[in-house]
Amino acid sequence: MMRTHRGIDTINGDIASVFADGVGFGELAVIRNPDGEESLAQVVRLAGRRVALQVFSGTRGLSVDASVRFLGRPMQLRVSQQLLGRVFDGSGRPRDGKPSLDEGEPVELAGPSVNPIRRRLPGRLVETGIPMIDVFNPLVESQKLPIFSEAGEPHAQLLARIGLQARADVIVFGGIGLPFDEAMFFQQTFEEGGVMGRTVMFVNTAADPVVERLLVPDLALAAAEQLAVAGQRVLVLLTDMTAFADALKEIAVSMEQIPSNLGFPGSLYSDLAARYEKAVDLPGAGSITILGVTTMPGGDVTHPVPDNTGYITEGQYYLTDGCISPFGSLSRLGQLVVGKATRDDHGPLMNAMIRLYARAQEAHKKLAMGFMSTETDARHLRYGELFRRHFMDLEVELPLLQALDLGWRTLAECYEPQQVGIKREVLQARWPGEVTP
């Protein structure tokens, strides 16, 4: 079912419209300029015979004389082991000079959701060796979790480090509007880390077309989904999801949609959720874990992009001043593994340590304001310092059980057992030293 039409009627932003019959919503088309340049495009609105197309490579240079060939199907990707070790662009074309894909069944991007009742309850810890993650906000297989960050923070390093350490069967990397150098950094890290052979990268750099930014997560997740159905444990790394949201905004504006908040479309929540909800643990098959980077414009967590993201994901790692902050960071699936896939003292220990660190921060503030510090404050201050050194420093790499032991030693160094708010039987089993009632 291929129909070719000549002539473009209107061009507005990255949307071009033509007159055609029998075209389906969401269908893919190839637009061919008289100069031979081709781009993919997708049907985003139908009104009578008028068909609005979102042009993947942008409309700059597009001629009203261009021809449009409808493919009779939505966008697809061929998924097989052939993907591994390869790099593609946001339209799914090779970026590494190697041949196109010819193996595997083509699958539609952004396919239907997994039936909620067919999901498996997550329960496997992904150990990273980073105490702020493993101890306080454990990453769980099939979790979806963003790193909330700002310009200048080492989010790329953190993402790559987790990618290398997570021991997934397959890494799917989606680069969205990345500076070229950063895209290269990821590729090199994967190559040097020896994981490129089980990695597939979809990369859209800041110089590439905006519309393709919208496709990168869908390409990455379609690949991940097929591989997971085939039994593989897939880790999807997406950076930067704020660039994705900005692209949504740009397209919404050219579609003349009414913006809801700071110009973002009212569907921002649903649009982000449709991607993040692809994270899943499939019974009798593999899983998809999604780790993303969301840069917060102006460091503002209430900005619509981090805000909507936080409402969708299962927690967040909050990167500030080069550390994963103990406040604001959260792994909601933590409770499924803490004490179950880890050690029985893990839960009470981590909660108490965070609570006390909050106290340490207060004591610190008091000190900064020139107030007299009490004996308790002195304990808090000491604890705060040790906490930063032993746990928050991103240089630290420590297996989980060792980190837990260090946690108890740190508490015992600063407090009496009745000051830490941990239930008695746990204290008796774990406190380094005597626990008197």
């Binding site: 019959d21 029998g22 139908l46 539609e108 498996r120 949609q257 909800e277 619509p304 409770q335």
Partner: protein, 591 residues
């Protein structure tokens, strides 16, 4: 219901909105099916402009094309009401999720259709009405037993006026679609009655005698709610809070422990994983009231965030309609809607596509009306036979940026009876449940029994102490601990004790997660006595030390089962602590 069914042809597609040239009359809100190849996609009329009707499609509209046919069904968006719904997990349109699998058995199939209840199942029907009786909508004709509830078979709820019962089936096994009674209406028509009926979800079921003023407490097992901001059977409450503050965990607790007959959980535009947690959890837990599993008293309406957005808008109505149906059976039903903001956003998306003039934050101008209309469907009612039924509605709100000044929170606050506001500061410090004890409120009475002065005094003490402690805390951030007198520091420490050992509650500890009302009473009264004995503390260091130990002891008590030796041990410890600091200690401790 009109007999003429209109048809139509698609003339435009804009996301999940399709424009249809209609042939024949259509109704606002009428359900239609879009014929997309072999798939039938359900849709609903949301606007009519002359010959063209705008329909929102409850599914992905991929491949829908201009020229495709649309069949109108003549019915408004409706649910089936019948025995067999308990324990089921539905999507927003009441399709049972276990019937919506694709070929792989993993993904949802577009256009899937399935009856809401098992049509093959046989129910032992017991007639209770006799031919010749004059009946009205909602009157009981007989019953079947479904788990712990006696599920009455009613005169159809949409019957207008009265009718005469001319036949009732004998006792025996029946399917829900078999005729169990025949009525003759006053205009002379005969109407067959089965155990199942349909009701349009956007209309409240109001076949009761009258609405009552709700004042009977609904015990949740959550101390801060039951003690400070109680809810009542037939009341309403909202739980706004920024992401990660604990809205869903709180709702999951309520689904487990609330003392009601039935719970309807509406997972509206939130995470699918949370539904999985619920359906893994509930079947394993025993309902202390019935001895059956908690899943047997639960229905889940599940339209999670990646499921179609138009069905999300419908899901809350589906949930509340099911609840109203059970209320009509004389039951006490709790509806938990997480999150009403996603429902409001679904309205916003549709309104935007219809190019309606946007209100604040682009929400439609009718947002307030819709929210008020929804909460108004909760309530305590007296049925025609004098018994009562209740629908209690608790909705979470997910305010943009965690700021309660936004339209959905504000519109909700103006209609609910209780406000359990979650605070970011508290959840950051892991003070769960993060319900803000100073900002939250409840319009419902705090008293449990009319004559329990000890409890009333303890609650009052708790409130005033928390408020005063917050003032001292604020003061100390300005003048430091050295700047406040010892007495103020003690007030502050009392507040901290109440917070840590009473208001905070660990959802993941089997014992602490739910505190029965009688224990709440005993514990709070005990804390009250301990804190009002005016300990003689020489200085602030001694005060801090004393309160650290006392707080710890009361905190540890929460993890001790009633009557256990550990509890006795902690009580002893408390007595000793109190004895060390004051002469009145022994009396207070022994009580």
């Amino acid at each position: 219901m009109s007999d003429q069914r209109a048809s139509g042809t698609i003339v435009g597609v804009n996301g999940n909105l399709v424009a249809v040239r209609r042939h024949g009359p259509v109704r606002q809100g009428e359900v239609a099916e879009v014929e997309c190849g072999s798939e039938r996609l359900m849709a609903e009329v949301i606007r009519v402009d002359g010959e063209v009707a705008q329909l929102q499609v409850f599914e992905d509209t991929r491949r829908v094309a201009v020229g495709m046919k649309v069949a109108f069904r003549g019915e408004l968006l409706s649910v089936t009401l019948a025995p067999g719904m308990l324990g089921t997990i539905y999507d927003g349109l009441q399709r049972p999720l276990h019937r919506l699998d694709d070929r792989q058995g993993l993904f949802l199939r577009r256009g899937a259709q399935a009856p809401a209840v098992d049509l093959q199942r046989q129910w032992a029907f017991h007639p209770t009405a006799a031919p010749g009786a004059r009946v009205q909508a909602g009157e009981f004709l007989g019953w079947v037993q479904e788990h712990h509830i006696r599920h009455h078979v009613m005169v159809p709820l949409d019957l207008r006026g009265s009718a005469t019962l001319i036949h009732v089936a004998d006792a025996g096994d029946r399917r829900v679609d078999e005729v169990v009674a025949i009525l003759r209406t006053d205009d002379g028509h005969e109407r067959a009655v089965t155990m199942q009926q349909r009701w349009p979800v956007k209309r409240a079921i109001d076949r009761h005698e009258r609405r009552l003023h709700p004042r009977q407490r609904l015990v949740t097992g959550c101390r801060i709610i039951d003690t400070l901001f109680p809810i009542v059977r037939g009341g309403t409450a909202c739980v706004p809070g920024p992401f990660g503050a604990g809205k869903t965990v709180l709702q999951q607790l309520l689904a487990r422990y609330a003392a009601v007959d039935l719970v309807i959980v509406v997972a509206c535009g939130e995470r699918a994983g949370e539904v999985v947690e619920t359906i893994e959890e509930l079947p394993r837990l025993v309902d202390p009231r019935t001895g059956g599993s908690l899943m047997e008293r639960t229905i889940i309406v599940c339209n999670t965030s990646s499921m179609p957005v138009a069905a999300r808008e419908a899901s809350i109505y589906t949930g509340i309609t099911l609840a109203e149906y059970y209320r009509q059976l004389g039951l006490d039903v709790l509806v938990l809607a997480d999150s009403t903001s996603r429902w409001a956003q679904a309205m916003r998306e549709t309104s935007g596509r219809l190019e309606e003039i946007p209100g604040e934050e682009a929400f439609p101008a009718y947002l307030q009306t819709r929210i008020a209309g929804l909460y108004e469907r909760a309530g305590l009612v007296e049925l025609r036979d004098g018994s009562t039924g209740a629908v209690t509605l608790i909705g979470t709100v997910s305010p943009a940026g965690g700021n309660f000044e936004e339209p959905v929170t504000q519109a909700t606050l103006s209609v609910v009876g209780a406000f359990h506001g979650l605070s970011r500061a508290r959840s950051d410090e892991r003070r769960y449940p993060a319900i803000d004890p100073l900002e939250s409120w409840s319009l419902y009475p705090r008293r449990i029994d009319d004559d329990d002065p000890a409890w009333d005094a303890a609650v009052e003490f708790c409130r005033t102490t928390l408020r005063r402690a917050a003032e001292v805390d604020r003061m100390m951030t300005v003048v430091g601990e050295e700047g406040v007198p010892l007495g103020d520091l003690v007030v502050y420490l009392c507040g901290e004790l109440l917070d840590a050992a009473y208001l905070q509650q660990n959802a993941f500890d089997e014992l602490d997660a739910c505190t029965p009302m009688d224990r709440q009473k005993r514990d709070l009264v005990r804390i009250h006595r301990a804190l009002t004995m005016e300990p003689s503390l020489p200085d602030k260091v001694a005060a801090r030390r004393f309160f650290a130990s006392l707080t710890d002891a009361f905190y540890q008590r929460n993890y001790c089962a009633p009557g256990s030796p550990e509890l006795v041990e902690q009580d002893l410890r408390i007595d000793q602590l109190l004895a060390q600091v004051g002469p009145t200690a022994t009396r207070a401790g022994a009580a």
